[in-house]
């Protein structure tokens, strides 16, 4: 077991009937294992992204705890949790996630450089060639298409070499060929590098790469 969620839930303020809040994620427990691709499926609004955000340390659960190894993420102070995220957790968010004032290469190497570590530029170039955006090294995000930006975010997470990698709709903007390429790369990362990978999607393409599949509906995990 690499990462464990103990009875976590998330409520948001919303006036619904007699209550002032609603459960985006109902209390649930979940484990992510090394060398395993975990696929979380569900329709839009089912709570997948909220769960991913809680597991990846960027959204405090209303209740419960998330453990990475023997570290309770949300008991850490902000500086320590931020550093842990930088060194051990990779996230490919659903939203556009580029810093506009940096080039593609600078965006990809940003996690390493943020804490002054040596940036693996050659490794980044190999991934860029593999994902067919090698020629965009010095381009700025506004010059890229949605699919190219998505691939850039995936490369950034892979170059970071996190213990656990979360990808939220990683193939959303991609054509079939690139979808296969990305999913295959994520699966290889899990199996060859012995890391944990969790893919959140509402499409079926990821199913064939999955070692474990969960489904979410109305904030409940099945």
């Amino acid at each position: 077991m690499l990462l464990r969620a103990d009875n976590i839930s998330k409520t948001f303020f919303r006036k619904t009937g007699s209550a002032n809040y609603f459960y985006a994620v109902s209390p649930l427990s979940l484990e992510i294992h090394p060398e395993t691709v975990t696929v979380l499926m569900g329709r839009s609004g089912s709570g997948k992204t909220t769960l991913l955000n809680m597991l990846s340390g960027i959204l405090q659960p209303t209740e419960g705890s998330v453990w990475l190894g023997d570290t309770d993420l949300y008991r850490l102070k902000d500086a320590a949790l931020s550093r842990l995220r930088n060194e051990r957790i990779g996230v490919v968010p659903q939203a556009r996630s580029a810093v506009d004032t940096l080039t593609v290469m600078e965006n990809i190497l940003l996690p390493e450089r943020l804490y002054g570590r040596k940036a693996p530029a050659e490794k980044a170039r190999r991934w860029m060639e593999m994902f067919e955006i090698g020629q965009l090294e010095n381009a700025f995000p506004k010059e890229l298409s949605g699919g190219e930006l998505r691939r850039m975010a995936i490369i950034r997470a892979l170059v970071q070499e996190p213990e656990v990698l979360f990808a939220d709709e990683p193939t959303g903007d991609l054509d079939d060929e690139n979808t296969e390429r990305v999913l295959s790369a994520l699966a290889s990362y899990a199996h060859e590098e012995k890391k944990g990978v969790m893919i959140v999607t509402h499409e079926n393409d990821a199913v064939k790469y999955a070692d474990r599949i969960f489904k979410m509906e109305g904030g409940e995990l099945f």
Binding site: V99, L102, P111
Partner: protein, 400 residues
């Protein structure tokens, strides 16, 4: 890439945004530095005037009051053509409480062929003078000989140059330091030279004769009252003893200038404060908009491991750099404005105007730049702090 290189790239690669913030801060710095220099120059001018006058009482012919404003006489350099018997100075010394009595004679040159420049000539008795002589001594090591003149700092004549006054050739032997008053456009000579110039002026039809027909005339006597004597009492005694002479207390003249200066200072200070408050609010709004526009960027940075502290430092660093740029630009622009147009400012204010020393100016410039940095950092801190408290997951969703 730690915070500094990232901040520099953010500023350099968003030139429009950076320029707008720098410009806004420059406007602030311009108002503060420009306003402060004007106020300080007025105060320095007043101090210079007080020091330069040096006298407690000035005696002038009674007719002078209707001919010239004494305040203008010293602020604008409009010395009048009024004369009285030269013996007044010696008679004044007989009044109890009078320590020194320094006569001066005024003569205005003509803007005509006979005179190379239009100036005010002031004749002094170097042996008795205590008002101008100390300043002359700072610029002239030897004595002021006959037909030698010492010129104010704004008289366009260099040392060694010959200027013609009523066809008389006078040699410039020294130039005085600035006072910020009308004394800067005057020319000083000894009484022998003045007698020659008065005679030459008479020949040109500019009369200085007084009713008694005496050729030995003066225009004013500067009185220094002995310590322990009441100036008002001495003033009254002088008026009683000397006929057809008016005694004017210099303090009342200085007070009038000081009141005007206080009014101008208050106006300039109030305007500076209002500009700062308005500009700070605008800066606050500008940084709030900038930080809001950068919600997604901050969320991405949080996502890849930037802490709240790092983001706060980044926002502060960027705004401080904008503050530094704006502070330097605004201070520079204000310096160009106030130094280039000092004559215009002086004449439009009608008050003694003298720049403070270079040390004070540099200190003021450094203070303005530091203030610009601090205000920019403060304005951005509010917005950055609010945003850094939002969880990255939420911010990323809001930044879509």
């Amino acid at each position: 890439m730690k915070i500094l290189p990232l901040s520099l790239k953010n500023l350099a690669r968003k030139p429009g945004r950076t320029a707008a913030l720098v410009l806004l801060t420059a406007f602030l710095a311009l108002a503060v530095f420009g306003g402060s220099v004007v106020i300080l120059s007025l105060r320095t001018g007043l101090q210079s005037l007080e020091a330069r006058l040096g006298a407690d009482i000035i005696l002038v012919p009674s007719e002078a009051q209707s001919k010239v404003s004494f305040q203008n006489m010293f602020l604008q350099g409009t010395t009048g053509a009024f004369y009285m018997d030269a013996a007044v100075a010696d008679k004044a010394l007989e009044v109890p409480g009078v320590e020194k009595a320094a006569p001066q004679t005024f003569l205005a040159s003509l803007k005509a062929d006979c005179c190379s420049i239009k100036i005010q000539v002031i004749g002094i008795d170097p042996a008795k003078d205590f008002t101008v002589q100390p300043w002359i001594a700072r610029s002239l090591t030897g004595d002021m000989g006959d037909m030698d003149v010492v010129v104010g700092c704004r008289v366009e004549a260099g040392i060694g140059e010959i200027i013609r006054i009523y066809e008389q050739r006078c040699k410039v032997v020294a130039q005085l330091e600035p006072t910020g008053t009308g004394l800067d456009i005057a020319v000083y000579c000894n009484m022998h030279t003045m007698d020659t110039l008065l005679a030459a002026a008479e020949a040109k039809g500019v009369s200085h004769k007084i009713a008694s027909g005496d050729d030995s005339v003066i225009s004013a006597v500067y009185i220094k009252v002995k310590d322990g004597y009441d100036i008002d009492t001495v003033n009254t005694a002088l008026t009683g003893k000397l006929r057809k002479v008016t005694a004017v207390r210099t303090r009342s003249m200085i007070t009038g200038v000081s009141d005007s200066l206080a009014g101008v200072s208050r106006t300039v200070s109030a305007m500076t404060v209002v500009i700062w408050i308005l500009a700070f609010i605008i800066l606050l709004l500008a940084y709030t908009l900038v930080v809001r526009e950068r919600t997604r960027e901050f969320a991405v940075l949080r996502l890849i491991g930037a802490s709240r502290g790092m983001l706060g430092r980044m926002a502060l660093l960027e705004s401080a750099m904008c503050g530094l740029g704006g502070g330097i630009a605004g201070t520079g622009l204000a310096a160009i404005g106030v130094f280039s147009f000092s004559a215009l400012i002086e004449s439009s204010l009608g008050l003694p105007y003298l720049f403070p020393g270079i040390g004070t100016i540099l200190l003021l410039a450094a203070g303005t730049v530091l203030l610009s940095i601090a205000v920019s950092a403060l304005a951005s801190a509010f917005a950055a702090r609010r945003l850094s408290r939002v969880q990255p997951g939420t911010a990323l969703r809001e930044g879509n």
